[in-house]
């Protein structure tokens, strides 16, 4: 603090109140923010004596308080709030559900891939087998192969894979980010459902 600041801080505020009748007045700094001013108005309306000090010393303090705060500090504070959210029992439950859904989605994707591989193998076999017999048989074999391939890909593969992929990408990444476990949970839930639906459709 410079010598000037020191001089500036030495100020005198003279107030008068009757200590037998009134409570001591609150001396607030003038020119704070909107909220502070409304609170002062509220206090005045309700009989709480408030004196607003607008001396140069107070202005100097206010000027110091207006110094900018680094952006990264704000973000770090918000991240810390969000990190401690994960200890909320509701969030723990949601995280467990998200984990279960993620596992189910991965399982569904694996099954879908296996089914696709099996279908492909089965489709080839049919085509070869029937094709060896007649022309009509060859056409039917081709149609069967296309149909089974499409079913496997569209019904289970696309839905389950996309869903599980999204979950796998979103969930662990966001979970470690600590900021958005709930977003991951929210996303994982429908993803899990979609995977299950895909599995059903495939069956």
């Amino acid at each position: 603090m410079s010598q000037y600041d020191d001089v500036m801080n030495k100020k005198a505020v003279a107030l008068r109140y009757d200590e037998n009748k009134d409570v001591a007045p609150v001396i607030v700094a003038s020119g704070l923010g909107y909220m502070a001013e409304r609170i002062v108005e509220m206090a005045n309306e309700n009989g709480v004596p408030v004196y607003e000090d607008n001396s140069l010393a107070t202005v100097l303090t206010q000027l110091d308080l207006g110094t900018a705060i680094p952006e990264e500090l704000y973000q770090a504070i918000v991240d810390i709030y969000a990190y401690f959210l994960k200890y909320n029992p509701q969030k723990i439950k949601e995280a467990e559900e998200a984990e279960a859904a993620k596992r189910a989605a991965e399982e569904a994707a694996r099954e879908a891939e296996n089914a696709e591989a099996e279908d492909e193998a089965a489709g080839d076999g049919t085509a070869v087998g029937i094709g060896a017999g007649t022309e009509g048989g060859a056409a039917a074999g081709k149609a069967a192969k296309e149909a089974s391939g499409r079913t496997a890909k569209e019904a289970s593969g696309r839905t389950a894979k996309a869903a599980s992929g999204r979950t796998a990408k979103a969930a662990p990444g966001r979970a470690t980010k600590a900021a958005r476990p709930t977003v991951a949970a929210a996303k994982a839930k429908p993803a899990g459902k979609a995977a299950a639906a895909g599995k059903q459709k495939q069956k």
């Binding site: 609150v26 207006g66 705060i69 973000q75 969000a82 600590a178 958005r180």
Partner: protein
């Protein structure tokens, strides 16, 4: 950077902090006769005094305004407790107590607004910070720089004078509201005939605007104040009413000082200083006036829908519209907020009521953006924060941070329920800091046993005891 986070500040602000009085047990053993030192004042044998409290605390100087501020400061955690209770319960107790329709709708809308994601919380935090101090932004950054560069007292005093006038101008609406409120109080204490006369005069006050300032000031100075002065003289009203008239005169002086012409004049006078002029090259008085006219001062002071909703709810609560049983809680919130705006509190105070990803939370922050480093002989300055937050079903946390040039010292007090997660907390805090490109120099993670007091975290609060002289 010194470790300023291990708070061991002795309880300052208490005049009898050095307790050299014998304990009752010592007293019992010591049977020597004690003669009173002062014949007119007989002291108690056990050394206690009338002003001392019996709860084991130290004697507080209640005889000054600073003393009552210190006492209020000790009650500060109440704000956190009350607000947490209100937010965690969705203000259900208030709604149940037969609140008015308008306020109930306000509460509903307020809670909808509180729901936010971490991304939105970041914006909300910045908005709250912006609303805690008017002197933020590029213009004030330049003025701060000029204050640092200034070598003459005249220039510094000139800059502060400009800021004072700017403050009065931007608070014009608020000052006029205060004047109107005081006039109503005066009217209530006057005899009927004179009261009617004052009412008629007060009704002529126009709604505040830059243009209306001069007309309102003229009316106050030339008619309203003389009218009240005559009433005081005629009726020999030398009590409360005269004090209120003095308050109107004081606020009128502030209102007049906030006239835009005065602000422009104060700015233009500063252009005589080369140090000042070099920062405002090419700026004309007219250009500066235009700039001032284009500011929405309510928005600049942090007015937003959420703040308005909260204030409306509080106003209803303080008036007792939310049930008499809740009135005291609202009054306590109001008082706690006033203490945080005190002239003795050289800190920014921010409240964060939020429902973060579905979890209700109430947080309070005290920020000193210009804290001394604490190292002997060092001129470095940094940002010091005390953050308290209560998260539903998780617990109450205390957090202290000191930031300086990308480096950070941190102390976290976590609730008892998380005692098994200390290493997890450490790891994740480190990750958060490195993700935000902050170098964590010190990290203390401890279980919360005693909440950190604001006065202990910011000992500079007590420096004001010696610098501000308040006479009542």
């Amino acid at each position: 950077m010194s470790n300023i986070l291990k708070v061991t500040t002795p309880t300052v602000g208490y005049d009898n902090s050095i307790n050299n009085k014998p304990s009752p047990s010592q007293q019992a053993e010591d049977l020597s006769i004690k003669n009173p030192v002062e014949a007119n004042k007989v002291g108690r044998a056990d050394g206690r005094t009338e002003s001392g409290n019996n709860d084991g605390g130290k004697g507080v100087a209640y005889d000054s305004n600073f003393g009552s501020f210190v006492q209020s400061l000790r009650d500060l955690p109440k704000l956190n407790e009350i607000m947490s209770k209100m937010i965690f319960g969705g203000m259900a107790n208030i709604v149940e107590s037969g609140i008015g329709k308008g306020t109930a709708a306000d509460i509903q809308a307020f809670f909808q607004m509180l729901e936010m994601s971490p991304e939105k919380l970041n914006e909300f935090l910045k908005a709250q910070m912006a609303g805690a101090n008017r002197l933020q932004g590029p213009l004030f950054d330049v003025l701060r720089q000029i204050m640092d560069e200034a070598t003459t007292v005249e220039l510094k005093a000139g800059v502060l004078d400009l800021l004072k006038k700017y403050n009065d101008m931007s608070s014009g609406k608020h000052i006029l509201e205060n004047i109107k409120g005081t006039l109503e109080e005066i009217e209530a204490r006057m005899f009927r005939n004179d009261r009617d006369g004052l009412e008629r005069l007060a009704m002529r006050l126009k709604q505040h605007s830059m243009d209306a300032n001069a007309a309102n000031t003229r009316l106050l100075k030339e008619q309203i104040i003389p009218y009240m002065g005559k009433y005081v003289a005629d009726n020999r009203e030398l009590g409360k009413l005269r004090d209120l008239v003095t308050l109107v005169a004081f606020n009128t002086a502030r209102y007049e000082s906030g006239n835009i012409d005065n602000v422009v004049q104060a700015f233009w006078r500063l252009m005589d200083f080369p140090t000042f002029r070099k920062h405002f090259k090419g700026m004309t008085a007219e250009g500066f006036r235009e700039m001032l006219l284009n500011v929405d001062y309510d928005r600049a002071a942090g007015k937003n829908e959420l703040a308005d909703k909260l204030l409306n709810i509080m106003q209803a609560g303080v008036k007792g519209e939310a049930g008499i049983e809740n009135r005291e809680a609202f009054i306590n919130v109001m008082r706690s907020m006033l203490v945080n705006e005190s002239v003795y509190m050289p800190l920014m105070h921010v409240m964060l009521p939020v429902i973060l990803d579905g979890v209700p939370m109430f947080s309070e922050m005290w920020v000193d953006p210009d804290e001394e480093s604490g190292n002997p002989g060092s001129d470095e300055r940094g940002v010091k924060l005390l953050i308290k937050f209560d998260m539903k079903d998780v617990g109450f946390f205390d957090m202290m941070l000191y930031y300086e040039k990308g480096k950070i010292d941190m102390l976290i007090h976590y609730p008892e329920e998380l005692s098994g997660h200390e290493s997890d907390i450490r790891d994740n805090i480190r990750k958060i800091m490195s993700r935000n490109k902050l170098e964590l120099e010190y990290l203390g993670v401890e279980q919360n046993k005693v909440p950190i007091q604001v006065s202990a975290a910011f000992p500079k609060i007590f420096e004001r005891r010696n610098s501000i002289n308040v006479t009542i």
